[in-house]
């Protein structure tokens, strides 16, 4: 399997702030890969560097086998996070313009515009001005501008922001459709649920560095603890102190316990029966959201530590 994108030791700093800090990453061709991370994690900066919109201070990039995306821009579809349309141009004019910029011409362009607009339900809007579109329609049109030229590599920066659930489903189907046609799709998001359902691989980024990457299974296997959800009448407080419980949230009538992989959940269940009349008992694996929060939390802990160190060193 070849890689659509390879990043090696990428660094980009703005003054003292390192937006991207020694990031290395491979994106295998033909997969859907999610870039996850909190706001300001460096996702957009990384994507912009992949797109040759900005250049890294150091490190290597390979996009579709070339060192610079400029050489293969016509094979890439990019939906930026900051996106808009020419308000005064009609949808047809807009798509023709972007199509031409991507190297499309003539009849192919014309029929492809019709085809794409139909697929997102905007067929009747072709000769209307962009300013007449609702926000959701604009979002769909922007997606169309991204995939119009049948790109091999599609990069979507926060594609789901501002979409209602129905359009979100539509967009998801379109992304899956892209993959079925052999395209590689990268998208950044902080909507964990979407990422979990859609992505073959995930990359978690925080403070410009990669925290983890791999398939959902691979990531989960690193976090082997389980979650126990309990509901019922009684006091669950005693359970929080049990051996094997790493973390707990106890309220009146329910408890949420994180236990290590080695802990036997039925042992906890027995305890629970002793203290309460249970109405619900559930064992879960960590979901992406929890893994994410955990990882980012640990990473922030690192930060605190590393910032304190020079001070103590100075005192010695």
């Amino acid at each position: 399997m070849t890689n659509a994108i390879e990043l090696n030791g990428l660094v980009k700093a703005y003054g003292d702030f390192r937006a991207v800090d020694n990031l290395s990453l491979d994106v295998p061709a033909g997969r859907i890969v999610g870039f996850l991370g909190p706001n300001g994690a460096g996702k957009t900066t990384t994507i912009r560097m992949i797109m040759s919109i900005i250049y890294p201070d150091s490190g290597q990039i390979s996009v579709l086998g070339r060192p610079r995306a400029i050489d293969v821009k016509d094979s890439i579809g990019y939906l930026p996070e900051e996106r808009g349309l020419y308000r005064k141009m009609t949808i047809d004019q807009t798509l023709r313009y972007f199509g031409k910029l991507k190297g499309m011409r003539g009849h192919d362009l014309k029929s492809r515009i019709g085809e794409c607009l139909e697929s997102v339900g905007l067929g009747d809007w072709r000769y209307k001005k962009a300013e007449a579109l609702s926000k959701g329609m604009s979002q769909k049109l922007q997606f169309v501008t991204t995939i119009l030229h049948r790109p091999e590599l599609v990069i979507l920066d926060e594609p789901f922001s501002g979409l209602d659930p129905i359009n979100m489903e539509l967009l998801k189907d379109l992304v899956i459709d892209l993959k079925a046609k052999g395209a590689t799709v990268i998208f950044s998001t902080h909507q964990m649920e979407q990422a979990q359902r859609l992505c073959d691989r995930l990359v978690l980024i925080n403070r410009g560095r990669k925290l983890i990457d791999g398939t959902m299974e691979e990531i989960r296997s690193r976090f082997s603890s389980r979650i126990l959800n309990l509901e019922g009448e009684g006091d669950f407080t005693a359970l929080a102190g049990q051996a094997g419980v790493i973390d707990s949230e106890v309220a009146s009538g329910n408890a949420r316990l994180e236990i290590t992989a080695e802990t036997d959940p039925t042992a906890i269940l027995r305890q629970a029966i002793d203290v309460a009349r249970l109405s619900r008992y559930e064992i879960q694996r960590l979901d992406l959201h929890e893994i994410f929060v955990k990882l980012v939390g640990e990473d922030a802990g690192d930060l605190d530590f590393s910032e304190k160190e020079p001070t103590t060193g100075g005192q010695r």
Binding site: S52, I53, I70, P80, E82, L85, Y86, Y97, F98, L101
Partner: protein, 439 residues
Amino acid sequence: MDKIITVGVREFIETVKTKTFFITSVLLPLIMLGMIFGSQSIAEMAEKETQPAKHFAVRDESGAVYDELSAQIDQYNEEMSTRPYAFESSEASVEELTQRVIDGDLYAYIVIPSNVLETTDPARAAEAGDEPIAGAGPVMTTLPAGTATCELGRKDGNPEVSERLKMMLNAAIVRVRFATADPPIDYERVSMLRQLVGVRQVDVVSGEETGSDMIRFMAPFGFMFLLFMGTMTISQGLLTSVIEEKSSRVVEVLLSAVSPTQLMAGKILGTVCVGALLMTVWGFVGYSSAQARDLGYLVTSRHLLYAGLYFVPGFLLIAAFLAAAGAACNTIKEAQSMAAPLTIMSIVPMMLWWLIMLNPNSILSVILSYIPPITPFVMILRVCADPDISLLQVITTLGLLWASVLAMIWTAGKIFRVGVLMYGKPPSLKELARWVRYD
């Protein structure tokens, strides 16, 4: 290159479709023509409107001038029946007359002193200049000390009235002096001998007789003004379109298809084509209408050649500058304040055009020719004013202009690349300098 052209074509079409382009390309030249040819007919129309008579009281302390003055006024009233003057002789004191003017009973009072017929010694009289000739405009000469002085008291400052009165008063007084001289001198004979000759003006290049000096002198200014307005409004259009793309967030979508440099090059190319279209239309209309009205010497093919030579680089320079300013800012207001130095500089030829036209080869004119953003405007004035302008200066100014165009495009490209993706506060000069140093 394909992509640059695609961007350029869109820029061109969208600019030509705007109202600003219509106003600049069609309305502005019409207004200019209207100002040049229409102001006279408007003035003529205004003169046809009848106005109420203006009442004057004349206190003639010499007792000799009033009759002659009223003869002058009768003649004036006959010629200008739409704005008559009514006169009365008065013995009242100046204070009383002043009160009547204040009350609105009189428009003005005139006091003619008793010594009005005396003249100072001949040498000083010669300095004082000649009797004003009717229709020759205001009397500009400063009078030597000791000259008899009349007084005109009124509330407003209408210069037409005062100039006319000065003329009539002087004509009347001079006539009386002739009549009362010892021995009397025949005024008619003297004025016959002083009859002036006309001067026919010919443009030696076209061989045509030139009409009004004023039109001939104003034409280059009109020429420069149109080019200036064209350059400024159209390149402002570029600034607006960059800011629009930034604020509507289209720009990053565009950057997924083209590099920032291609985007900027395409936009400048499109704008330059709009400018070229405008110049061609104006040049054609100006040239053919000048030919049609036998004013061919006003717009020659030489003028058009120089206009083209200077305005392509001039336009590029300003367009590149404004593209960078637009990219660095987020609102038109910010961008305009960033472009303020250029705007201020470009006013210089507007203020000094008269001096440049009068002395196209003065040190000032030459120095101004070597300041790149205003080179085209200054040079077009000089080329019009001096048909034998130094070829060396033409070549060196063009060379300097093109060199600064290249430098500006290079700098603008750097600023554009960083600027289009920057939102928030507009950058300081220091930050701009840092952007230019990024690779």
